[in-house]
Amino acid sequence: MTVSFPGLQAVARVFGLLGETLWSLVRRPPPRSAVVAHLFNTGNRSLVFLAVTMGFLGMISVYQGCLQAMKVLPDLSNAGAVFIMAMVREFGPTITAMMLATRVGTGIAAEIAVMTVTDQVEALKVNNTDPVAYLVAPRFVGFLVMMILCTVYSCAVAILAGLLMADLRFQVNPNTFLSLGFTRWSDLSVGLTKTVAYGVAIPILAADSGFRAGGGSEGVGWATTRAVVNALFAIIALDFLIAGVGYLLVRGA
């Protein structure tokens, strides 16, 4: 009797794809032009989308946070320090990852899925071209690099928007708001770890969904849906895991 564990098989398949991608990067780095194209597609084309999302998020968070804080203690001198710490450690990486998963991850899944259902992926193999090296590796590098840069950009936009809200609505001095008093190196390292983990997970999960597409245009639709669902699930799981480990290792000490 054969017992199968579809969940474990899926995890093994995704880690297998990650391994193949890393191995292909070691063996032969992708052409610079392909990486630049994916850097542009992931980063430059997401700037407005990220600015709008993170700008509003920054303003809403500061507005709600200050409003609630005022009910308890009418002192907002630490509002900026708390907000910046939360943004660097938690919201900056996680919200940016969710935004990029929906905008870029779905694009990766759709592109590869179309190539899969039209036999282009098999045609690559027939032409002695490794589909992972050709399709996944440049997207992986482009996404990972831009995930880090976009997170820095998102944090900056959100902090700036929060500062404006704090200043204009609650008369918090900008110099007071821009305090790094609560932000430690451990917060930065947890934030950076999350950013890198998301930057690795999202393109691999998207590519995996694309490669598993089948059944024509409907299959492409399912692949993009699966890519975004899997990526969001992975982001939440990684967030929980890294936050927990980070707390035990550096904060709890």
Binding site: M115, T118, Q120, E122, K125, N128
Partner: protein, 242 residues
């Protein structure tokens, strides 16, 4: 030999025995879903059999690892049903790809040589267009020219005339004849285009219920009184094939 292949509970190939002879144009025919494409994908290692063996020039390749297929895929090329040109490359870059990857030519050399192969299929004047900018017949011709860049021993064409008009089909048929008669290649064609089959084939293999139902030259099919073969050839909606 004795090839079987299932997808889930559906058995597509159920013990197929077939040997392709050098220099012939062999047509593999059958109704949709009988496993014609599945069968030819075994010949280039895109699918592995559940049981049975795939022999290429006497060597069992059924369990070869992926990296060992490269030299075989140089000699046995598959042109896919949907042409499968790469959307992000021009026609010339599509043809140049196997020259770079299989033959190790530089990018510039491969692009220059690609023009020779595009000339073979009379597509040299549209070399720098994208696949989306040309018609289905032109895409098929470019896909065939891309396959020829490897100077293959055997070309396997999966439904090369499906979806083409009569003139475009005749152009592809002519190209298949030239491949065999002028260039001496072995050609295997998957098709259910009867005009093409009876106009070009040296040998026809009819797949039905996952097995080779009838195998022989076109004349054998013309005079066959097998009800399954007759229904397929006459395109009759009534009969044993449902």
């Amino acid at each position: 030999m004795g090839l079987t292949k299932s997808f889930g509970d559906h058995r597509v190939l159920d013990g197929v025995d077939l040997a392709i002879r050098d220099g012939e144009i062999t047509y593999i025919i059958g109704t949709s879903g009988t496993g014609k494409s599945v069968l030819v994908k075994h010949a280039v290692g895109l699918l592995r059999p559940d049981s049975g063996r795939v022999l290429i020039e006497g060597t069992d390749v059924s369990d070869l690892p992926e990296r060992a297929w490269a030299p075989i895929r140089r000699r046995y090329v598959l042109v896919f049903q949907h042409s499968t040109l790469f959307d992000s490359m021009t026609l010339r870059e599509n043809v140049a790809l196997p020259l770079r990857k299989h033959r190790g030519l530089s990018r510039a050399e491969a692009r220059e040589r690609a023009m020779d192969y595009l000339r073979l299929v009379r597509m040299e004047d549209r070399a720098d267009r994208m696949p989306a900018e040309v018609g289905p017949s032109e895409r098929k011709r470019v896909a065939i020219s891309r396959a020829l860049t490897l100077d293959p021993h055997c070309a396997i064409l999966d439904e090369p005339t499906t979806g083409l008009d009569v003139i475009a089909s005749a152009t592809v048929d002519d190209l298949i004849r030239r491949l065999s008669r002028e260039l001496g290649r072995t050609v295997v064609v998957v098709s259910h285009d009867l005009r093409s089959i009876f106009g070009v084939a040296d040998r026809i293999v009819f797949l039905y219920k996952g097995r080779v139902w009838l195998d022989g030259p076109p004349d054998v099919f013309r005079v066959s009184d097998d009800p399954v073969v007759r229904q397929f050839i006459q395109g009759d909606p009534n009969g044993p094939i449902v």
